[in-house]
Chain length 331, copies 2
DNA sequence: CGCGTTTATGACATCGTTATCAGAAAGTGG
DNA sequence: CCACTTTCTGATAACGATGTCATAAACGCG
């Protein structure tokens, strides 16, 4: 900046004024400074500016997701980015990989870089460590999972109602023996989805069969095994409600291997890539990661703009997409 | 930092020494400072430190990709992140969306934040605007596409050989009328893949039929139309080589709608999600985005560590994954 | 014990920018 | 023409950290 000032024959403060488009600079001076800046390829150093600037904004956001390579997270990321770019805010994205250690490390890395706000998918038992930041007024929005030990804005898929809806869809098709395949019991979303499944059964007066409820399926292969076992039962389920993405894929593989994919109905929670090109095409309760990201970003910026109402939850509705596998009727 | 120093009863410089684990601090002092830092929840401001620090590193990288929501880009991103995190480097990711305006804006945003290096998938006609940065020694690695008007490290999929390999695979199955479906002619990768296709035909002594070469397919729907037209020809192709992801999906949809998916062979360039669960399962020439990201990141860090050999290209090989659709023989 | 070396510490300048303030120049109204 | 406001400009301090340098205490060794 000094160099630009010297070249333009003005003081540094005047250059600063031109760069920040402040008032009270003559047209002639603006032109001279712009020319000098152009000539020297000058790019202001935002970080240095933020050091002194009154609002201390870094125009930077931290985003912590499961994995940037996971389609759900990637869609959230994209929506956040689209909102951020309009305000010239850059986004640090970091992957969590269900590793509590990495959660802490990433959040610390964000804080050391003085991000203006945080959007977090968390895994740790407690997020109380963020208390001081919240008290200091840093906007923090949790996404997909509720924080523990902390009250903060949270954007959630309507897991309960979505799971209930998917289950009701199978019930409406006439199924009574509907299996549930779920993720680790410790995950908030997994618990909610299971609750939705049970609620829907109860409302219809169907007693849940514990042998049909299988949880703690972490990956495809485990889901495959689970389905194999279900089909080997004396009175196997006529339908499956799969409460997560990868589990749904595992179920598809197993059903197909057993030649049961045209006979046993399947509804999955969370959309599956290429679902409409599979046969049968997969009926799902789709989440809306794009909306989730957009709402989270909107909230962050509202807070930055001074909104101070108490923290609240934002519930994003799901959408039932009928494609075929969920419309199979019991024999 | 001042506060920590006061609380610990030492000078700021001593706190700085403790934080940066410099030599010549007594164990007792270290303990006192650590305790004070803990108590005040002190997080050093990296940006402020970098202002004065000799190497002027911000421990920050800029990554510009097609879209963070696109699986290929997301895999590259993930690989870069994994390499970066080991060095406590944070990554700014930005989506390009084939918008030259956005390319410039994002790169400027990165530069204003003084990133240590750039990893770029570019779209602009020329990247000469990065000349000054390169000369100043900022590491810049281009990914997936060669830069124009600039010499810099570049990581590329072996598009030419990959496309040739896919085409040879179809030739080996006995096909002679092999259609080519390609992306916009202006894209570097599209050109290379077409060249690979033509080379393979030539080597086998098959004269390319211009009616079977269709380019400028930007999206699925266009690919679908193109396949419909191909199948309507007097002597339609017995096989299709699709040079890009979305085009392959469009082709699958069209082949299926025409009831031709079991008859007309298909090999796609770039893997397709769930490809093995489709029927027929899709044979592809897979790229290795993870390797691409890892190599790009490695190169950035090598350069930051002082490596100064001339810029070079890194060619990442492809892998032919036979799944069924590419092994269909001509009637 | 004396002298050189190593260890330990803090004062101060500095990085690139913006905030504050002072002051000059130009315009406005009576 | 004078007082008063508005416009325009730059000197200087400050932001939160590190680099440099000076100084003092502790240590090692003949």
């Amino acid at each position: 900046m000094k160099n630009v000032a010297d070249l333009a024959g003005v003081g540094v403060k005047t250059v600063s004024r031109v760069i920040n488009q402040e008032r009270y600079v003559s047209a002639d001076t603006i032109a001279r400074v712009m020319r000098a800046a152009e000539q020297l390829q000058y790019q202001p150093d935002v970080q240095a500016g933020n050091l002194r600037r009154a609002d201390r904004r870094t125009d930077t956001l931290g985003l912590l997701v499961g994995s940037v390579a996971n389609p759900f997270s990637a869609a959230v990321h994209r929506a956040v980015e689209d909102a951020a770019i309009q305000r010239h805010v850059a986004v640090f994205a970091s992957s969590l990989d269900d590793d509590p250690e990495r959660e802490r490390a990433s959040v610390e890395a964000f804080l050391r870089r003085r991000v203006d706000g945080l959007i977090l998918t968390t895994i740790q038992r407690s997020q109380a460590y963020l208390g001081p930041q919240l008290e200091q007024g840093m906007p923090v929005v949790f996404v997909d999972r509720k924080p523990n030990g902390l009250i903060a804005d949270t954007v959630l898929t309507d897991n309960l109602e979505g799971a209930a809806r998917g289950t009701r869809h199978l019930l409406a098709a006439g199924h009574r023996r509907i299996a549930f395949l779920g993720d680790s019991e410790e995950i908030y979303t997994a618990k909610e989805r299971k609750r939705g499944y049970l609620d829907a059964l109860r409302l219809e007066g169907v007693a849940p069969d514990p042998r049909l409820v299988i949880e703690n399926l972490g990956e495809e292969a485990q889901a495959e095994l689970a389905v194999n076992e279900l089909l080997a039962l004396d009175d196997p389920p006529t339908a499956i409600f799969s409460a997560q993405n990868l589990i749904t894929i595992g179920a598809i593989i197993a059903l197909r291997a057993q030649g049961a994919s045209e006979r046993v109905a399947l509804v999955g929670f969370d959309d599956v890539p290429m679902a409409s090109l599979l046969s049968p095409a997969v009926t799902v309760v789709a989440q809306d990661p794009s909306a989730i990201g957009a709402i989270a970003a909107r909230r962050i910026f509202e807070r930055l703009d001074g909104e101070s109402e108490p923290a609240r939850d934002f519930i994003v509705p799901t959408r039932l997409i009928k494609r075929g596998s969920g419309e199979i009727r019991p024999a």
